[in-house]
Amino acid sequence: LPICPNGSVNCQISTGDLFDRAVKLSHYIHSLSTEIFNEFDERYAQDRGFITKSINACHTSSLNTPEDKVQAQQIQHEDLLNLVLRVLRSWNDPLVHLVSEVQGIKEAPDTILWKAIEIEDQTKRLLEGMEKIVKRVQPGDLGNEVYSLWPGPPAVQVADDDSRLFAFYNLLHCLRRDSHKIDNYLKLLKCRLIQDSSC
């Protein structure tokens, strides 16, 4: 079978198109992450003060990511792309856990379960896309360091409800934060690399 013989027209998806799709997907994932966090927060976390315990508790906080526009302007786009890749990869295992855990939460509405599954699905898709973009933008070894930033689920025998709910709250809080970072960096990279910083 031909692998896109040169006679064929546009036989490769343009980098601009790849970015378009990645940004649409990252926007969608963050919107879902925000909804699932808000829904869980309203239903299970009111007046439990979980926010105070979720300070400095994200498994990705050790990753040195830009926190304002100036820092974002200073970082090389290869580094920012790789950061997005690392953050995405570090969510593989937690999202698998999230989907299985949701089913164990008392009267968790279907909407929370559906969103957890959809986020896991779409995040895998975005990772596939990001690996393609990184290969395109910076040919060479992509590296596939296995990210064990995530310490794994809390001890399963954690009996008391509060700790289990907090573990869940914290995961959704960090998911909302990291999915926003990914969305933000991708929109920025798209403007920088594809639209010459004039979006």
């Binding site: 079978l1 031909p2 692998i3 896109c4 064929s8 027209v9 036989c11 490769q12 998806i13 198109d17 790849l18 799709r21 649409k24 997907l25 926007h27 969608y28 919107s31 879902l32 699905d121 898709r125 596939e128 896309g129 393609k132």
Partner: protein, 210 residues
């Protein structure tokens, strides 16, 4: 006499929601012998040849790519082989980028409300399509005619999921349909026909206005 089959032709590939897609082909003359069809594909810049995962779901002479086999990030190069005892013949390669082959299902819940001076038409995006967060942006077209008329009046409504029609025939029954299309893709089928009777007094009162 009996010959090798003619080469088949891949006629179209469509995705209803950017998550799965199907392709259909038209067989050529089968050479008078039992002929077998296999769909093979590669992905851009990947030599590995893969066979169609599911020849059933989308009906005869088709291949269905489920979520696991559908990628947004690559071009598919698809070929169909026809084979019988006398030999084999392959179709031309067919290039597919899933983002550009979306043909959504029609809009749903079309509702018609006769208001003071216009007919208000409202509808919802097709099921399975998540337009809320821009994952798939749809534009719409509405067509309307009085039951007796021959020609449809067509209105492009952009992203609006409602539209006010001012030009109507008082006292007549009207039929309305809506269809949709992603920003770069194919128009859906028209929605089922919806009917509304425009009151006789509707326009007379208004005609004096212009």
């Amino acid at each position: 006499g009996q010959t090798a089959p003619e080469k088949p032709e891949i006629i179209k590939c469509r995705s209803p929601e950017k998550e799965t897609f199907s392709c259909w082909w038209k067989p050529g003359y089968d050479g008078g012998l039992p002929t077998n069809y296999t769909l093979l594909y590669t992905k851009e810049n990947h030599p590995e040849v893969i066979e169609c995962p599911d020849y059933k779901t989308s009906g005869p002479y088709s291949c269905y790519f489920d979520k696991k086999h559908t990628s947004l990030w690559t071009i598919y190069i698809i070929v169909v082989n026809a084979t019988n005892e006398k030999g084999s013949n392959a179709s031309e390669p067919f290039f597919v980028d899933v983002t550009y082959i979306i043909e959504p299902y029609p809009p749903t819940n079309v509702s018609l409300t006769v208001e003071k001076k216009h007919l208000l038409v409202k509808w919802f995006p097709p099921l399975l399509v998540d337009v809320k967060y821009g994952w798939l942006t749809l534009v719409y077209e509405l067509r309307l005619k009085s039951e007796k008329a021959q020609e449809w009046e067509i209105h492009f409504t952009g992203k609006q999921t409602h539209f006010k029609v001012f030009s109507l025939h008082p006292g007549e029954n009207h039929v309305v349909q809506v269809r949709c299309k992603p920003d770069h893709g194919f128009w859906s089928e028209w929605s089922p026909e919806s009917y509304v009777q425009i009151p006789k007094i509707f326009q007379e009162k208004d005609m004096t206005v212009w």
